[in-house]
């Protein structure tokens, strides 16, 4: 298994490029902004990302301050995000209202994703129950400059 201090890409017979990319993204985000590790320490549960156009899924398993990235669906997800690969990547580009680190409703990417939600091009299952996980996940995956 490939092991980083916080991220583990679970090596199975077939590691999806999608999973490898998300693992790399998380790894580099944490390297750029180590304070994000605090978010990671508070996270528990499983998040599944489904890329419809890739016919691929991955599961992020958060436990004990680490995240294991599984190719495919692993266990029962607490939160599932299902969309095209473009929209999933847009989730990492959400503009953030810096005061509370919440998505900025004025941002073009936030508005695009809101439209996608209304059109059911982006589907989120378990959002209400796993809201804290969803918010922390958005902060972990955000590609906003650390200074922002």
């Amino acid at each position: 298994m490939s092991v980083d201090k916080y991220i583990e890409l679970v090596e199975t017979e077939r590691v999806l490029p999608f999973a490898r990319l998300i693992a790399t993204l998380l790894e580099q985000n944490l390297s750029d902004a180590p304070e994000r590790a605090q978010e990671l320490r508070r996270m528990r549960g499983r998040v599944c990302l489904f890329a419809d156009d890739l016919h691929a899924a991955l599961t992020l398993e958060f436990t004990a301050g680490r995240v294991r990235v599984h190719s495919g669906v692993f266990g029962l997800p607490d939160l599932t995000l299902r969309a095209s690969s473009e929209l999933l990547i847009d989730l990492t580009r959400l503009e953030v209202a810096s005061r509370w680190a919440l998505p900025d409703p004025r941002g073009p990417v936030v508005r695009k994703l809101a439209r996608a939600l209304l059109r059911r091009q982006l589907r989120i299952h378990g959002f209400v129950r796993a809201l804290p996980v969803a918010l922390r996940l958005s902060r972990l995956m955000s590609v906003s400059s650390p200074a922002a």
Binding site: P17, F18, L21, L25, Q28, S85, I89, R93, V143
Partner: protein
């Protein structure tokens, strides 16, 4: 007149297309992260005997220069190196596959470079593809 892809002539035509693209100028304006290399893997049956790269000196929305190089050593100085098979480049440069999607599928390999930065500039990447669509291109296969 069409330009063979890849070739030094295509690389120069691509640079001109990038600089003529106002949308790229806007999307790429914050880019100060250094040159980007697009590398085609060697494929002898296509007449590409070794890895072949196009080094793009992109900065603040403009392409200041390009270099056509053979061998990975020629692009080693680039801050970002993206490697793919010829067929993958063809799909991306013809607008058939989104570049980020191609990365998520493993068709494009970000061999060197900061992934969060690359994702932050996804619109600039798409405008580079839009620029490539303006270059009359002759693909080998």
């Amino acid at each position: 007149m069409s330009y063979r892809f890849p070739s030094p002539e295509w690389t120069v035509a691509f640079k001109d297309a990038v600089n003529a693209n106002a949308a790229y100028r806007e999307a790429g304006k914050p880019w100060t992260y250094g040159p980007v290399a697009l590398v085609i893997r060697a494929q002898a049956d296509l007449g590409i005997p070794q890895d072949t790269g196009m080094l793009l000196d992109v900065h603040e929305g403009r392409c200041r220069g390009t270099q056509y190089v053979e061998g990975l050593e020629g692009v080693a100085a680039a801050e970002f190196i993206i490697i793919a098979e010829y067929a993958a480049w063809k799909s991306v440069l013809q607008g058939e596959v989104d570049p980020i999607r191609a990365m998520m599928e493993g068709q494009l390999d970000l061999r060197k470079g900061h992934l969060p930065t690359m994702i932050r500039f996804v619109e600039a990447s798409r405008q580079l593809v839009a620029s490539a669509l303006q270059v009359p291109t002759e693909f080998i296969a």
